[in-house]
């Protein structure tokens, strides 16, 4: 009973956190120019405002897309639809978003040479790889479930 309660609560909390992150990501879209200016002001390095604005807009859009997919995934899990191809597709899209962000920040790193851009790129690539592995696992599970369903 206690275990079920915890599982339900963790799913609910994950969904709420995803929605909150989604709201923050959407709100961030309106603050990107100010964030870029603020970064230039505190970094002390040569200004990269325009590149940073473009990079942040693209990253934020990809982040919103990934969070929306995560929301769909958690909604499916909540409806007891776990081992379905739709969830594997969500994982695939999230991993592609991570890889796209990684490439974007790697380009930014190569043009501006700032260490934190490399860190962002590395973390996004690592997250993308982990999610890719999870996608492969889920695809295998979907196949197993299908085989089980069609065993008479």
């Amino acid at each position: 009973m206690a275990k079920k309660w915890t599982a339900t609560k963790s799913l609910f909390l994950s969904r709420m956190l995803t929605l909150a992150s989604l709201a923050i990501a959407v709100a961030t879209l309106f603050c990107i120019p100010f964030l870029a200016e603020w970064y230039d002001a505190i970094s002390g390095d040569p200004p990269i405002r325009n590149q940073l604005i473009v990079c942040l807009y693209i990253s934020d859009a990809l982040g919103i897309l990934a969070l929306w997919q995560l929301h769909k995934l958690l909604r499916n899990i909540n409806r007891q639809r776990v081992f379905v191809p739709e969830n594997a597709a969500c994982f695939r899209l999230i991993s592609w978003c991570c890889f796209a962000v990684s490439i974007l920040w790697m380009v930014m790193f190569l043009t501006c040479i700032r260490f934190h851009e490399f860190i962002i790129s590395f973390m996004a690539a690592f997250a993308g790889l982990v999610i890719r592995v999870m996608k492969n696992l889920l695809e295998a599970a979907v196949e197993l479930r299908e085989e089980n369903d069609y065993t008479i």
């Binding site: 299908e146 085989e147 069609y150 065993t151 008479i152």
Partner: protein, 69 residues
Amino acid sequence: MPIVVNLDVMMAKRKISAGELAERVDITPANLSILKNNKAKAVRFSTLEAICRELDCQPGDVLEYVKDE
């Protein structure tokens, strides 16, 4: 798939309906339909045994291997 299920042929020979066979074999009509329409990925020995018992036939009468073209 090269394995073809000829359940409908045997059912016609024994003059038994899908609903009746499903009830006798103790599987759902939906699962019998999956089996009949060659959608099944595997058949349990227990199911095959029950089908052969009820239709008074051999597994080879129900299952057939057809070479892929």
